[in-house]
Amino acid sequence: MLEYHALAWVAWLTAAALPALLTRNPYYLALVILASLVTYLALDNRSPTGRSWGAFIKLGLILCAFSVPANALLVHYGDHVLFSLPADWPLIGGRITLEATLFGLASGLSLLAILLVFAVFSVAVPPAALLRLVPNFLHQAGVTVAIALAFVPQMIVSAQEIREAQQVRGHRFRGVRDLLPLFVPLLAGGLERAIQLAESMEARGFGHARFSSLSRRVLAARVASVMGLLGLAWGAFAYAYFPGQRLTGIAVLVGSTALLLISFWAMGKAVPRSHYRRWLWRRRDTALTLASGAVALLTLTLWLLDRPALMYYPYPPMAPWPPFRPEIGAAFVLLALPALLASGYRPATDGTRVLPISADRQDERPAEARRRPKEAS
């Protein structure tokens, strides 16, 4: 397990996802994949999330391996002919070119890179930490989503039980009507569980509001948020359809965004909520965020100002071999930073999990060290 602040991981995700999405250059993609893979392997990938992503990555590898011959066999375009298949073979007959093979490789690599980057992020940042990034006024919606996700594995288990029970009763699947014996018990059982969970949450004070929901302040915040949304729509409309009033449009957009943010903040204040886990920002979080910011900035700048540096298109009239600039390559290697900064720390994983937002350990230190936490390593 690599311990970083969730926000540092968000910075990493941005920095890694940008090249994975924007470039098709196999050299750069290979570097992004390599860096993500190093990070992924350093993570606790034996957890359930880790295991399910492991399966996804295997699928990605297969797809990647498949896309090379598929593209080579189906696209018969390019100057560098490797060999030819008889022209009367349907679809695959014709010239097999180096260009098509390379393009297949680039597509496969880009898919794999995107998959890996998201795998790293979702294994590194547990749902609880993600939930905490959700602003306070959206907190209840966030919890609802988290619970819905937690319900899925339970539903799978009971679906299996129901299927077995009905099978033994002689149930066989022949048509849509036969779904009923499987579906009705699943739905009814899920509903019963949901009701009990709702009771349990309510009995523990979930949704406790500091102000009554009709207090003047909450009402004002709600009105302001509606006005903000309307303003956003109007500003976008003005910007898009009235070229003469672009400036007004922008001003309205900025104004209503500010209004929205303020109203969200005010509504968040009405939900009293504190956090149990101390969220530490350590030196390595700063390092990771800065490095990620630099990579993201570089990628964006190149994409906006010097697009050919990232572009790759093997077919004529371009050269089949992709360009490579060492400084760009070096930047993508930086994406392996999470694994490099915090190597050597791996707790046991027998169902135990230490959240990156850790409240333990820190309290043994003297108070002044706690106020300004520093990383010993």
Binding site: P153, A165, P181
Partner: protein, 549 residues
């Protein structure tokens, strides 16, 4: 601390139903601070409803009409609602699976405090305290899904204790647990009550486990029916459905009525001497029903099975003949359910063989095995889907290709035998727990299987419902069926099984007649047997028949 004054409550009417009857009827009650109150009564007597009044879930969560006055710790739950009561009343629910919000123990403990916006330093302190109080410190970083049932319920208790409530309310917290896990939870409750002076209100079906901890018992009968409130001995002497020890004590007129095995021991010793003196010499226990001299219906030979990388069954041998009733016992995870699934062909042997009604499960398709073997899963809800019970039975018959007028007559006879004739046109999901269990049984038995397999059939059933079920199963055995029942319920096994097979770590460790195995065991032994420690006395009926002679 708690004060109910002429409370009457009616759940909202369901569309299509007539005027609903009240679930609580003119109930008045007073509970003092630090008291341990046990609430008992058959299913549907309003126990859950009463408990939910204490923190405002009734009427806030359910709606309906509420009359009367409630005061809990000086607050009115009807006015402030469950959220407003959350720091005063901690509520723990029946199902350990369905009351957790986040995925690790520590975060679950903090959840309620986070909702109230308590400062972080305070939360840290309280979480540590509660972890120590309930002995959960070693589990603090565990994922909740990896915990056992007993551990889960302890976490559920801990999760409400962090708000430092003065009252703990628990709605049948042990009904889904095996005996050891239930014990874990009850011991914790007793500690909290005695060491911290926490007021505890607990509803529970299996009285024998808790009655010695309670200061007072409240017995509900049915909505609007008589209500008894008093010391455990007073109330238990007056109500009908009691644990075997107390039933025996009442029948033999033991005074004061013993509530624990320890209290009952002197009476039992005297009775034993009396019986032995009267019959002159040590009588022998009744011969166990001889195993019928026919070919076995079920035969398992050297069965091995690997499951998720561990050996779930390790060389199991078992033979069951027609007309035999076998209780399959053992800890959770000892392989009981795995073995049952092998007997119906849902799982196939990794090694060894399973022959059921002449079919080899390695070769015969599940449908064919299932026509001869009925399997009732743990949760009756996973079977029932049709709109009426009749359709439910018709579905089973049709699936097995048995739907004909003769079978349909048999089905009606079956419903009569199970006491379900009145419910034939009702939605099986609207039935009560015990009725639902019987409906699932009917849906399986309608195909007239030769072997009946049951997985934990008594979970959540009260004494009366259990007795009905035991009668039914005994009758099926008398009709020549082989019954194999996986259960934790020692009393049920004592009252109807001929043989006990005990599994541990996937191996058969005990296989013998019920009387002998129970007398030799300390844990898996019925209350009456624990009292007498004599193979002649296993059930209340055994003792009574000796006394009459």
């Amino acid at each position: 601390m708690i004060e109910l004054d002429h409370v009457t409550y009616t759940y909202p009417a369901l569309p299509g139903d007539g005027e609903p009857r009240p679930a609580l009827c003119d109930l008045s009650l007073q509970v003092d601070e630090g008291e341990f109150l046990l609430v008992v009564g058959p299913s549907g007597s309003g126990k859950s409803t009463l408990l939910r009044c204490l923190n405002g879930l009734v009427p806030h969560f359910y709606g309906g009409t509420f009359r009367g006055r409630v005061r809990v710790g000086g607050r009115d739950p009807v006015a402030v609602g469950p959220r407003g009561m959350s720091d005063l009343v901690g509520f723990v629910f029946q199902d350990p699976e369905a009351q957790f919000v986040v995925d690790t123990v520590e975060d679950e403990l903090a959840f309620a405090m986070e909702n109230l916006g308590l400062p972080q330093a305070l939360m840290r302190k309280r979480v540590e305290e509660v972890l120590d109080q309930l002995g959960l410190a070693p589990l603090r970083a565990r994922r909740i899904s990896t915990l056992s049932g007993g551990e889960k319920q302890r976490v559920a208790i801990a999760a409400v204790l962090t708000l430092q409530p003065r009252i703990l309310v628990l709605d049948e917290p042990t009904s889904q647990l095996d005996p050891q896990a239930a014990e874990e939870v009850l011991v914790v409750l007793r500690q909290l009550n005695q060491d911290l002076g926490l007021t505890v209100v607990l509803s529970e079906h299996r009285l024998e486990r808790v009655v010695q901890y309670a200061d007072r018992v409240l017995a509900l009968s049915y909505p609007g029916g008589p209500v008894r409130l008093g010391t455990p001995a007073e109330v238990l002497a007056a109500i009908g459905q009691t644990p075997p020890l107390i039933t025996l004590g009442k029948k033999l007129g033991w005074q004061p009525l013993p509530l624990t095995i320890k209290d009952g021991r002197p009476f039992a010793r005297a009775l034993l001497q009396e019986v032995d003196r009267r019959s002159g010499e040590q009588t022998t226990p009744p011969e166990p029903r001889p195993a019928p001299a026919v070919a076995p219906l079920v035969s398992v030979r050297n069965l091995w099975f690997r499951y998720n990388g561990h050996e779930a069954l390790r060389g199991v041998n078992l033979e069951v003949r027609p007309g035999e009733f076998v209780a399959l016992m053992g800890r959770n995870g000892s392989g009981k359910t795995t073995l049952l699934k092998h007997l119906v062909g849902l799982l196939r042997p990794g090694q060894g063989e399973v022959l059921v009604a002449g079919l080899d499960t390695r070769r015969a398709p599940v449908e064919e095995v299932a026509r001869r073997v009925g399997y009732v899963p743990q949760d009756p809800g996973s079977l029932l889907f049709a709109e009426t019970l009749q359709e439910e039975l018709a579905f089973t018959l049709r699936s097995h290709g048995l739907l004909n007028p003769q079978a349909w007559q048999g089905a009606e006879g079956l419903l009569r035998r199970l006491g379900l004739s009145d419910f034939a046109r009702r939605d099986p999901r609207d039935l009560s727990g015990g009725e639902r269990q019987r409906a699932a049984l009917a849906a399986i038995l309608v195909a007239e299987p030769e072997v009946i397999l049951l997985d934990e059939p008594t979970r959540g059933l009260d004494y009366g419902q259990k007795e009905t079920l035991a009668d039914l199963l005994r009758r099926e055995r008398a009709r020549g069926r082989a019954v194999i029942m996986a259960t934790h319920d020692v009393e049920l096994a004592a009252s109807c099984a001929d043989r006990v097979v005990m599994l541990a770590e996937g191996e058969v460790v005990v296989d013998g007649p019920t009387r002998e195995t129970m007398t030799e065991s300390l844990v898996f032994s019925s209350q009456v047997n624990k009292l007498f420690r004599d193979p002649r006395f296993v059930t209340v009926e055994d003792v009574l028949s000796y006394v009459k002679n």
